[in-house]
């Protein structure tokens, strides 16, 4: 195929195609690669651990992967009739963790919500800055100190620490600042006038709260609950000093003190992988929920063009019924 060059009258009439180099691409793809590598290193320990949990009966703590791929070690977590079983401990700890986490989540949601509502109304005075820092203190105090302090506190009062009295309290402390910050962000996006409009139209304070405020902020409350739940589900440093000998340990403590109470076998990995799976599952549920919601969000259109296409005016269709004063 020969290209026939068009007869050109002037040099500047020639059509020149030039490859435009997209400068930004390199940075973006470079960073994206970095991001993927980053994710890899973030997840690799857990993945390795999970892989090792599927080993056969001769499986050991570390590589190489031994035996056929089985669920044997997973079974030892749940079935008390299997050899090497740890089911009783796991179940006890699992229940302990579950209940603690549920309650902690609930309390965190309630306290975070009420604290943020209090701040919303008053965020203009000096004392509030102090209060804000106190809340942030809960975030900054090393976990260990909170545990130690609570333990000493109970000793000071002459009582033995009970998980429900101490660990619950300490874990809620950790969760409150997260919940508070989440709720603050939610309130920021919230239009105060909506509540006034509701009041204008006849709703009293309780009805306004129920019909208008709550539906618009419930995601923040639910997020707070999730925070409280997962933080408690995973906590180690706070609870380690607060247990006594006769209550079941929460799962992380069980895992952390495993070497001193159980032979180290791949079922430890199964346990670790299992608890991680629960956490990840919750988070991915949140991910799905958030992305679904974001898909339906669109900025309202304000351009006149849209309006002009919509020809029915205020004084148009349907005729006007003069309303009596």
């Amino acid at each position: 195929m020969t290209a026939v060059a068009p007869t050109m009258e002037r040099a500047q009439d020639a059509v020149v195609t030039r490859k435009v180099k997209q400068r930004r691409d390199w940075a973006k793809w470079g960073l994206a690669t970095y991001f993927v590598i980053f994710l890899f290193f973030l997840y690799i320990p857990i993945i390795l651990m999970a892989i090792l949990s599927f080993q056969g009966p001769t499986g050991q703590l570390t590589w190489p992967f031994r035996g056929p791929v089985t669920l044997d070690w997973w079974k030892t977590l749940f079935d008390s009739n299997v050899i090497n079983t740890v089911a009783d401990d796991v179940r006890a700890s699992g229940e302990q963790s579950l209940w603690l986490s549920l309650v902690a989540g609930g309390i965190v949601a309630v306290l975070g919500f009420s604290l943020s509502m209090a701040f919303r109304r008053r965020w203009r005075f000096k004392s509030d800055v102090v209060a804000f820092y106190v809340i942030m203190l809960a975030l900054m105090t090393p976990a260990f100190l909170v545990g130690l302090g609570n333990q000493l506190l109970w000793k000071f009062m002459g009582q033995t620490p009970d998980l429900w009295k101490t660990a619950l309290g300490a874990n809620v402390i950790w969760g409150i600042p997260f919940s508070f910050l989440v709720m603050l962000a939610v309130w920021n996006r919230y239009d105060r006038h909506i509540e006034e409009a509701a009041r204008d139209l006849g709703a009293n304070a309780a009805t306004t709260f129920r019909e208008v405020t709550l539906p618009l902020v419930w995601t923040g409350v639910f997020g707070s609950f999730l925070f409280g739940f997962t933080l408690t589900w995973n906590d180690f440093d706070r609870t380690i000093l607060l247990q006594n000998g006769y209550q079941a340990q929460p799962l992380p403590i069980l895992i952390g003190t495993w070497p001193s109470s159980h032979p180290i076998l791949p079922n430890l990995y199964a346990l670790g992988a299992g608890t991680t799976a629960v956490s990840l599952f919750l988070i991915f549920m949140v991910l799905v929920a958030v992305t679904l919601r974001l898909r339906f969000r669109g900025a309202p259109v304000r351009r006149a063009a849209e309006e002009f296409g919509d020809t029915a005016g205020l004084t148009g269709a349907g005729g006007l019924t003069a309303r009596a004063k």
Partner: protein
Amino acid sequence: MSSSSTPEPPASDATRVALQEVEEAEAILEQQPPQAERALGEAAARGGGGWVTAVLAAPGFLWIGFYLIAPLVVIILVSFWTRTDTGFSKVWTTANYGDLFHDSTYWHNMLTTFETSLIAVAACLVLGFPVAYFLALKVKSLRMQVALFIIALAPFWTSFLTRALAWTFPLMGTEGALNKSLQQLHVTSGPVSEFSYSLLSVRAAMVQLYILFMITPLFFSLSQVDRAALEAARDLGGNWWRTFREVILPQTMPGIVIGSIFIFVLTMGDYGTVATVGGGNITSVGTLIYSKTTAIEYPQGAASAILLVILLMIGVWVITRFSNLREEL
């Protein structure tokens, strides 16, 4: 255009007049007095909603008072009391602090932990910044941003202890994946024992475990950077480094400060990671306090804890000098 009587050229006169008009208009439109609209508040509207605020704030603050403030106060008290075999007795003494000050291993320990913290902060910053930058400034759709952010954040929501555990045998141990791969690739000839139960592995583990505390504030800071300002800087001829230093870095300082505070505080007070990944070999201030506590040396443990808190407060204060945080909040 001939100018008649005025000495100044017409052009500047026009500009001056125009500017004057604009100033006047602005002066009218933005009068100072009643900042009424800003003083509006529901409490003011209902003329006395103060007690509702108190009711809302009370439960939270009571809880914090009992489970956070009181324990800290008790720690302070106990650090000044005397040890007994079953706990402590309320006999005032400063011996606990005295012993600590003269205990060189304690200070050595403290120094090592401090070093670990600094390394952790620096590493998290350097390694985490590109991630935050990518998410905040390079990913276009909000949905993708949030999705990727959550994916990156998810491991944080798993038990960090489990991750620390996974760090030991499966990954870093002498039979672990890292060593095996290095041997496969003929980079090393035999297993490297320094990878596990060592200071190196503890520090590496900490970075992996805490880096998300740096990425999150950085992400939020970076997403507030004015992209128009970035483009303007590029327009004016700045190369990447200048733009970064002059435009991005200042606006990200609050995020950097917050992230550094988080990581500093968390790593200085860390117990679980050091205990798990370090085996029994590595000590930190956290493990020290723990061991004193389990040895029923409460006052000594408390004193160590208080010293730690003081150092933390100094550290945080130093870090906040880098940015006027209050304004940004």
